[in-house]
Symmetry: C2
Subunit: 680 residues, 2 copies
């Protein structure tokens, strides 16, 4: 339809084209080959673009040996960068923020360990050793390190599918440590091999769906604690969980429910206050610890009347026991441990990477994000984002190594998977942390807890932990983003829905698999079916533009100007050939219907054809021949560097001849139409 | 380095830019939004581009109901298209070509069946029923249908890995038919769902490697027959085969070797003749049958002296027995049959699709391709190519349905996987076939053979079949293309090598898997690491081009003009942001070193950014903010239709403001620098 209306227009505007040809000083520029490069040089350039796009060693250039050594030391142990300038003022800020995040980290640690079906004490262990390691190796100043909800959930669900903690606690613990070890090895090797970019393959859209689904699963699981149910399904899908909830109605305990929903309301209110007034971030930061203290006192006072409220019970005193002897490197469960490790490893590296970028841009500044708003999050991205706010650079691959090493050490000291937590980082930042010393302070606070305060948690009711988890994950159900996706990009929205329902109804790892598959498929679909546009001339200029987008753009009679909007690959070469031939056919039918000037020349605007492979080269060649048979000339306009080079190498450039390749569409049209005038 | 030299140049050419700004009639054109479309309309457009890019129903437009019915009939059964005009002249041509391909089809059929570890008679059955079905449903006039080498090899190797024909022939046969059935179902559903484009995902480069490796495997397997070895490994990899050959040296029989290499030399010579003189195509077309006849007579005459030469032996007389009762739709081997079916199905659809396009373009015309030069090939592509030579169109998805139905019917009449064979099609074309009647003639010739001539094959030595297979597959080892790949595209060459060695050392299906994985990885790698180019102005014009490719292109002081050569996706948004910031950093360092005019504005040429997703939008937004903090302006030039639309929807366009988006780089540079002059 667009075709018809435009055709009519350009019939009336015949003079425009004549004008255009008469325009003075029409100089024809030759298309040039890029400078010759050796294969080795190209290869090195390519490798450096793939693995070192951020040029991480640029500071090392033109430096003395000693300076280089110093820089290398600072690169590996960023503590050397800021330690010399450390002073009391900085310490004061770090002390305040360190204690603030400790108050958040202790209840969170206990809750998340329960989420992974691990004994609560492991959450505290994991909040002690990893922050210390990170403060030595990490380069982000504001990152708060500890266990996170999604990684805990995935580890718990994957291990529980095969073995039960209650039946074989030693094996379960061993596998959790082994999985943590492999997560660390995986993260470290991604960093060393500079393959950090693999985490980019989880698109934000699928992650919004995935985390939303996971958050719902986590919240539903908490119904066990919130309702006081004793016999609960170990499955993770929504349907068995709901069945389990309603089948065990006789186990519901009104005392637990009362306590649980009371504190849930309290926590949600504080969350709401912080969301509204970002300056009051400490209200929701302190709420979990307050709830734990209040509920513990309450249960302690009523201990003779409320046997139905389950409590944490005895927690062992003392620091992390070594656990390297518990790692499994053989046996039937090794594969499970490796699989769990890799999935939790990549998840803990990815999820927040995208969540954070998206929060940054959608909510403007980090200060707007209250604690607990996004709890499950990740090192690099968090680091990178804070870094960009404060104008210092963080090397993502380097951070992956730091997080990986932290997990390897953690697995040998009774910790499970840890990473940069978003809620802690946000609190850390808002409380004014200046260096990673705040992590050390937090670890010290956890140490004091471990050594002296453990008996105080005896009467802490499990139901409060459930309420803390629900408050933490509820912000992950991000319906606003989903709505935004729907408005901006329907395909992204479908991807989001698929991973959401995949997690909800199938399983968490499979949901993740679906999310990745959809992300990759989306890329492939885009590559296989690229756009081709018809271009028209904007009167009075040499500019050629999409006639659908620019209504003033006019078709040039006897020319069909097509822009191919993608590299020409094996995956789309057949399609493009068919599509271009169809454009030609439709154009010819149109001309017949309108009695227009016969089509003589097809100009392919190659500006967006940024690469071509051997299949693409063949397609171009074949297309030229097929059009030639129909007495139509095929002309290329503005082929880019490497495309020209390949066309030249395969002698296809020669087959197009001197009058077959132009620098711009404008020059092509002007030159060819003037040559027609010369020899009618 | 390029940066430095250009910087120096543009310092000297300061006047160019002043010139440029003074150029008269600089009209600024606004960037426009594409016309509003409903979601449904967009969705329909998208779906039709994905599934109906060739607009298969364009003939149905504006026709009466009766005409539509007639066209539909002709579409489904192309025989109605040409049958009314069929005459004696056409019949004569078809008769000659039909008999010629029959002479090739009979020995090939027997040989290929042996390649699949099936009884030789199945090769003849498969050359009888499928061609009849195809002549009814197929739309390609020159396609010769029958079993092909690669599909036979893959089926044989996949089934033999689990079960042995000698031990359980009934089960093996049943599974072969079941696999054929599922191959047919798979092909038909691809066609009906119009998913034919999935075969585009096997790139030509990986296929050259794959078929080359498979050809070597097939040839080495033939050493069994060629040397007269009785006890041979059932494995397919190169190492066990070679070990088997040399371990069984005591079984080598000199009579077999003499006969085998004699006929191999004869066949290779005829192949060579036809390769040199395409007009003598019949020399190599007739050679296999001649070899079979001569060797049979020879062995018959010497039958009392040469017991060591193994012969085909008794073949049952009569047409295809029904085999639908032998299909398995349950039991432990069902999964194997489905897997084999899908792999052989997709292989038989793919391999030649690319092989053919590539032969067409590399060897110019089909007449240059002698028979046996490429034996294992495929329907659609062959059809499509011949079609384009003769200027009639073939619908790929329709052809897939025809081939799929042919295999479904075949599986119920004792045939195994068949498809369009390249050698037969080439002979068919060269012998002057006019319609699919030549397939009927061939089937008739095979029928006569099946009914009356089977006893004549009793003394046909197996060694001749081995020689026929080797001659057939030797053309698949395409070292010339591999060399061309090396010269044109190193990455393609690596993909080719990987699939070659994958087939050779691991296994055929895994080799195919590697080939697909590499093809997809190559696309993903390209998407994750797109090019960014620095543009410069070509003096005296408004054209901006890559300063690396065009040495006369000059940088514009205070501007950094970057072209992003890819859609901005979740998979590359982080990279692009880092890379652009690195460009800015390097540019600023350069300016410092050269005391140049300070950088003020970054222009992003968005011409090649053909799509953007939500992550990409966030990246743009964030980038603008980060540059703003450094007092740098970010300007977009020429965003295409759907990118503008999304920028508009997310209000990012508004944040760029009136002076933030231009139609061309030239207008952006001119307008911004003139605004600087106005308010210095």
């Amino acid at each position: 339809m667009g075709v018809n209306s435009n055709r009519v227009e350009h019939m009336d505007n015949h003079e425009t084209i004549i004008n255009f040809q008469v325009m003075p000083a029409l100089q024809i520029h030759a298309v040039q080959l890029p400078p010759q490069q050796t294969t080795l040089h190209k290869f090195r350039h390519r490798v450096s673009e793939i693995f070192f796009p951020d040029d991480p060693l640029f500071r090392f250039k033109n430096q003395t040996c000693f300076k280089k050594f110093l820089l290398a030391l600072q690169y590996l142990f960023p503590i050397f960068q800021w330690a010399p300038q450390y002073n009391l003022t900085l310490l004061r800020s770090d002390l305040i923020s360190g204690l603030t995040i400790a108050s958040l980290a202790i209840p969170q640690g206990i809750s998340y360990a329960k989420l992974a079906n691990l004994p609560p004490i492991l959450g505290l262990y994991s909040s002690f050793v990893p922050p210390l390691i990170y403060s030595l190796l990490g380069s982000s100043r504001h990152l708060g390190v500890g266990p996170v909800s999604i990684a805990s959930l995935v580890m718990g669900s994957m291990l529980s599918e095969t073995i039960s903690y209650t039946r074989d606690p030693i094996l379960y613990l061993g596998l959790a440590f082994t999985a943590t070890f492999f997560a660390g090895v995986f993260q470290t090797s991604l960093g060393i091999l500079r393959l950090g970019f693999v985490i980019d393959f989880l698109s934000k859209a699928t992650l919004v769906g995935f985390t939303g689904g996971a958050a719902i699963i986590v919240s539903l699981q908490q119904l066990k604690g919130l309702l006081g149910i004793v016999h609960f399904t170990s499955k993770m899908q929504i349907i068995p969980v709901l069945i389990s909830v309603f089948k065990q109605r006789n186990e519901w305990s009104w005392q637990t429910i009362l306590l649980g929903f009371g504190f849930l309301a309290f926590l949600l209110t504080t969350r709401h206050i912080s969301l509204r007034k970002p300056k009051l971030f400490w209200v929701s930061a302190a709420a979990p610890l307050t709830s734990v203290i209040l509920s513990t006192i309450l249960v302690f006072l009523l201990r003779n009347k409320t046997h139905q409220i389950s409590v944490i019970g005895h927690l062992p005193k003392g620091v992390n026991p070594p656990s390297s002897n518990m790692l499994y490197f053989s046996g039937p469960y090794l594969a499970l441990a490796i699989k769990t490790g890799i999935i939790t490893g990549i998840l803990s590296l990815t999820v927040s990477c995208l969540l954070v970028t998206y929060i940054i841009s959608f909510r403007l500044t980090i200060t707007l994000i209250p604690p607990n708003f996004l709890v499950c999050q990740e090192g690099i991205a968090v680091g990178r984002t804070f870094a960009s706010l404060q104008n210092y650079q963080v090397d993502g691959n380097k951070e992956m190594m730091a997080i990986g090493l932290m997990n390897i050490v953690g697995s040998c000291s009774s910790c499970y998977v840890t990473t940069g937590s978003f809620s802690r980082s946000a609190v850390n930042y808002n409380a004014g942390a200046q260096t990673t010393v705040s992590n050390i302070i937090m670890a010290a606070a956890v140490l004091v807890t471990l050594l002296f305060l453990m008996p105080l948690f005896y009467y802490t009711p499990n139901v409060v932990l459930a309420a803390i988890i629900i408050t933490a994950v509820i912000g992950l159900i991000d319906y606003q983003s989903a709505y935004k996706l729907w408005k901006v990009d329907k395909l992204d929205f479908v991807a989001c829905l698929c991973s959401f329902f995949g997690v909800l109804f199938i399983s968490v790892p499979l949901g993740l698999g679906i999310a990745i598959a959809i992300s990759v498929l989306k890329i492939l679909l885009h590559v296989t079916r690229p756009n081709t546009l018809v271009l028209g001339n904007i009167p009075g200029t040499q500019i050629f533009h999409n006639i659908n987008q620019y209504k003033e753009a006019l078709r040039v009679p006897s020319f069909l100007i097509l822009a191919v909007e993608s590299p020409i690959y094996f995956a789309n070469s057949t399609y493009l050939q068919e599509r271009i031939l169809r454009w030609v056919r439709e154009e010819e039918e149109n001309i017949k219907a309108n009695n227009g000037a016969p089509l003589k020349c097809i100009v392919l605007d190659m500006t967006a054809v940024t690469a071509i492979d051997t299949s693409g080269l063949d397609t171009l060649c074949e297309l030229r021949k097929m059009l030639e048979k129909r007495m139509l000339q095929l002309v290329l306009a503005n082929p880019v560097g490497n495309v020209v080079e390949k066309l030249h190498k395969t002698k296809i450039l020669d087959s197009f001849g001197l009058k077959g390749v132009y620098l711009t569409v404008g020059e092509a049209v002007a030159d060819i139409s003037s040559s027609w005038k010369a020899q009618p």
